[in-house]
């Protein structure tokens, strides 16, 4: 449904998008994951023809995307990263206005507006001005304005920043619901949990390049880490580290701030082996976790740095 080929966007000397290639199928929830400044917003802006780009090709619904391709734009809902609402209008008026940019029938628009209000849970705030809303409520209004006309493709750029976990979950569930009803969704975020939770396919961006793409299982299987063991509140000597490193399946050990992190590839009983070693050496420790790899680990292994800094 969407095809981005060799997209290059430069801001002066800075290359914000470096030969980006993405393909998104109808019915997907496609996640764009990347740290701050990795080019997510830039990619979205190019996709919406809001930005001119230096090179590349963008196709939406099988047609080349241009600024005046209004037939295509009509079927797209946009939730931009920066909240775009009118301070002089109430919550309901704002949603009605943005819905009106796509839907002309008054009755139909009214129904859609009410549905959008319910969707983001702003029923108690319909008469308020955006200025009177808290940051999270404002974000929810932003979302409602973007999806009210029930478009075929919804593009969301970090829509849940500053939204509390409870509302966030509600919104994420809502997005899944929209998807079930047939909307294709492009979802941008630097929260890997969110992306993992809802996205059927994920592209990881860094410095304007797509460094990995696939389902989360595919992504995780791309890396060596099969299990990550974290031991907190532990006091030990540096000389113990090589021993741990030499345990079977272990390929990386770090010890910092009384916290030991051991990365193991696949296999079973890794945790038992580490704990046995600590017991043997009579080393005291606090809490212990064993985790399956996260997208953060994927990012870390490919780029050598944490996704979240």
């Amino acid at each position: 449904m969407i095809k981005i080929e060799n997209l290059v966007k430069r801001y002066g000397p800075l290359v914000a998008l470096d030969h980006l290639n993405l393909e998104i199928e109808e019915g997907e929830i496609f996640g764009l994951l990347g740290p701050n400044g990795s080019g997510k917003t830039t990619a979205i802006s190019c996709l919406l023809a809001l930005l001119k780009y230096d090179k590349g090709n963008i196709e939406v619904f099988g047609k080349t995307m241009t600024p005046d391709n209004y037939e295509v734009k009509k079927q797209i809902g946009v939730v931009l990263q920066n909240v775009a609402v009118f301070d002089e209008m109430s919550v309901r008026e704002n949603i009605d206005y943005f819905c009106g940019l796509y839907v002309s029938g008054k009755e139909k628009r009214k129904a859609l507006t009410e549905e959008a209000i319910r969707f983001v849970g702003l029923e108690d705030y319909t008469k308020m001005r955006p200025r009177q809303l808290s940051g999270g409520l404002l974000r929810r209004l932003n979302i409602a304005c973007g999806i009210a006309h029930q478009p075929r493709l919804i593009i969301m750029d970090e829509p849940t920043v500053a939204v509390d976990p409870q509302s966030r979950n509600k919104i994420l569930e809502g997005i899944k619901e929209l998807n079930r009803k047939g909307a294709t969704i492009i979802y941008t975020s630097h929260y890997m949990e969110e992306v993992e939770q809802i996205c059927s396919r994920i592209a990881i961006l860094d410095h304007g390049r797509c460094i990995a793409q696939g389902t989360k299982e595919e992504l995780k299987s791309m890396i060596k880490t099969g299990e990550k063991i974290t031991v907190e509140g532990i006091l030990m000597e540096e000389e113990n580290l090589p021993d741990i490193r030499n345990l079977p399946h272990v390929f990386d050990v770090t010890y910092e701030n009384q916290e030991l992190t051991v990365r193991c590839s696949g296999a079973k009983h890794n945790l038992v082996r580490v704990l046995n070693y600590l017991q043997e050496k009579d080393i005291a420790f606090g809490r212990v976790f064993s985790e399956l790899p996260t997208l953060n680990d994927v990012f870390l292994e490919i780029t050598g740095k944490e996704l979240r800094d």
Partner: protein
Amino acid sequence: MTVFKGYMRITKRLLGMILMYVVIFTGVTVSMQFVARGTESSAYRAERLDIAVVDEDGGALAKGLVSWLSEKHNVTGMEKNEEVMQEALYYETVDLILQIPENFEEKCLSGENALSLTKVPGTYNAVYASAQINTFLNQVRTYRAAGYTISEALEKCQSQNDSQVNMLADSKAKNGMQSYGYAFRFMPYLFLTALCYVLGLILASFRKKEVKNRMMASAVSLRRQNGEGILAFLVVGTAMWLFSILLILCIDGKSFLADPNKWYYIGNTLLLMLVCLAIAFILGLLVSKPSVVNSIVTPLSLGMCFLGGAFVQMSLLGENVLRVSQFLPVYWYEVVNDTLSNCVSMTDGVRMSIYKGMGIQLLFALALIGIAMAVSKMKQQDR
């Protein structure tokens, strides 16, 4: 029409602000009148003026006019000599010079205002006399039209108790200017502040980077967005203009409607409205923060109005100031306005200067719209 409706919705939210300016405007207009009444009126109320008459015609009507005038004022004859006339006015040996051209009778009866009145600049006394003259001539015309001969008509007018004249002349003389004259003079303040505020704020909202981007991503074409925006501007401007005329009818409707120049006044304000719309448009394009709009509009409108002569009589502004003022549309609006409120008879010369002032305003409006379009194009490209 979603975009248009959006503009209107925001305008509605700003009505309170418009109302505030209307109240200020009305307050200033009324109080200026009050001040003017206090200072100017008593000094020359029933005063006899020194009027010099240059009679190039010498016909019956001219003679009749002069003899009628002599009963009310100190009338002296004068040669048609520019230098002598200038001097007399300069040293204020006369208050007013009345020139009666050749073929006066014919011109006058055909309805043309052939008389030329020159007064000492900055005085209002002459207005009193000129109103009297006008009324007198109108009466003569009326009698002529009713079938009387010139001499009969003159006789009728001479003998007539000129109560009507007094009333009309009185109000003009008392205030120096009619109430609506003040209202029109301050109009630029109302238009500039109200329109710049409201439209500046609306445009700022619509041009906020986020909203602009969001709108560009929507299904409404840019051309359509602009079209509906311009329509909204025109509607708001026209509403403001109509409202101001209505306001004047409320303040002093009776005498305004009696003013033969009322259409010139109205046309002049229409042009002013266009100019103010263009200014508001540019302001909205350049400024995208509501708080900045707030802090720009007040000095902008006050400055323009002051320099343009909306607050202070133009004759009181220094020559250097006036030189600068000429580059302000408000100045030309006030020129037309002053001409209209001082004008006793609509001669070709007066008409020319009115058209000139209006023409310049129109040029200003067109130039400003041109600038606005260039700015808007420039802003669109930097993305």
